[in-house]
Symmetry: C2
Subunit: 220 residues, 2 copies
DNA sequence: GTCTATAAAAAGATAGAC
DNA sequence: GTCTATCTTTTTATAGAC
């Protein structure tokens, strides 16, 4: 059959060997790497133990079973990725000078689209979430999170509306549209990272998407 | 790779339920059902054999190994789904009377978004494609297909532009935008069907997306 | 072509020593 | 807490009869 997961035992060695906490961290790191790369079913607990440089029994002592380890690790990774996207949102779209709103939104869109296309951990964890959610309903508890992303955009758009720089009667809808026209386009076209997109493609998509957004929401 | 019904070696016509061709069809049906529901790794050849009502050995005689059966079945299912979407595109967006273009595009968007949300075979096969593509590079050969969908939209938009009913200088970009604002929104928000969306939610998303599209591409 | 029966390997989880 | 060694079940794939 196709290759089974066999990690190199050496790759996990050399870390602070001492305490229980160090081993736990090594397990999390190894599990994240392997789960994101190969999915739940294709990764064996043996492989995680080898990659982390601990025995399999130690993993079972810490987490009880493979499923719990998976949910723990993926949940944490997902939250980290959502946080990174929200941070990106907060970094841009703030304090745009009146005359640079349109350029600012275009630059923001490019940045966000490029981030979407070039952060393999983000795409991998979302692909994993989508494919495993039917088998681990607990994963669906995280569904509410992405709202935070567009909520963050909506807040900025409402501010731009208040300054009369955009015409955004429904900020939440508009935020969804900006998201769909930039990051959403990248997600769909790349199949969440399964298909590689060139930098040019991403830039063109984001730019044309942002321009369409501006035509729709520019004050008349 | 591609999966067509093989030419029957002995019989001239028909398909006796107990014959080789009948069994092959039963295998395909069972495999599609189980793979779409549970993914590649979670489905055993034993389970497929039981579901199809044939022996495991018969499956191996027909397909050689599990991977080939999977690629065959998923490839055929994916092509079928793409065809259904393109057919939907072709059904709408044609012969819109001058005064009903905007309403027609909104109706089209709702229809397409609802189809996207309510066709579990479509979402399941795309989720499967995304999650398995890294392990089966052959699946990536299908990546070119989705272009057919937006190309179909682009053609209609260009026609509406020629009639002066829309202002669409770049039909392919505009088609991508309409797709992103309707079906794309549904795909992203539902995580390709992993999260259930209410009918109201889908309708609201599609309607607001179509209206944003129209504001961006309405003639001035 | 199709079936029953059976390899051969790998998986998740546990026992018991230290 | 951690390790080595082992149990039990399930998996893919094949042998050989009909």
């Amino acid at each position: 059959m196709h290759s089974q997961v066999r990690a190199h035992p050496s790759s996990g060695r050399g870390r602070p060997a001492g305490g229980s906490e160090g081993k736990r961290a090594a397990i999390v790191l190894a599990a994240r790497r392997l789960f994101l790369r190969d999915g739940f079913e294709r990764v064996s607990v043996d492989a995680i133990a080898a990659e982390a440089g601990v025995s399999k029994r130690t993993i079972y002592n810490h987490y009880g079973d493979k499923e719990r380890l998976f949910l723990d690790v993926i949940g944490e990774t997902y939250n980290t990725m959502i946080g990174a996207v929200v941070a990106l949102m907060d970094k841009y779209l703030t304090d745009l000078p009146d005359e640079a709103v349109e350029d600012g939104i275009i630059a923001f869109s490019r940045e966000v689209a490029m981030f979407a296309a070039r952060t393999p951990e983000r795409t991998a964890v979302i692909r994993l979430l989508m494919s495993e959610a039917p088998h681990f309903p607990a994963l669906l508890a995280m569904e509410a999170r992405p709202r935070g992303i567009t909520a963050s955009i909506a807040e900025r758009l409402a501010r731009l509306d208040a300054r009369g720089l955009l015409d955004v009667p429904e900020p939440q809808d508009a935020a969804n549209h900006l998201f769909a026209l930039t990051m959403g386009q990248v997600n769909n076209r790349s199949m969440y990272g399964a298909i590689e997109l060139s930098e040019d493609e991403v830039t063109r998509m984001a730019t044309s998407g942002a321009r369409a957004f501006l035509r729709a929401y520019r004050p008349r």
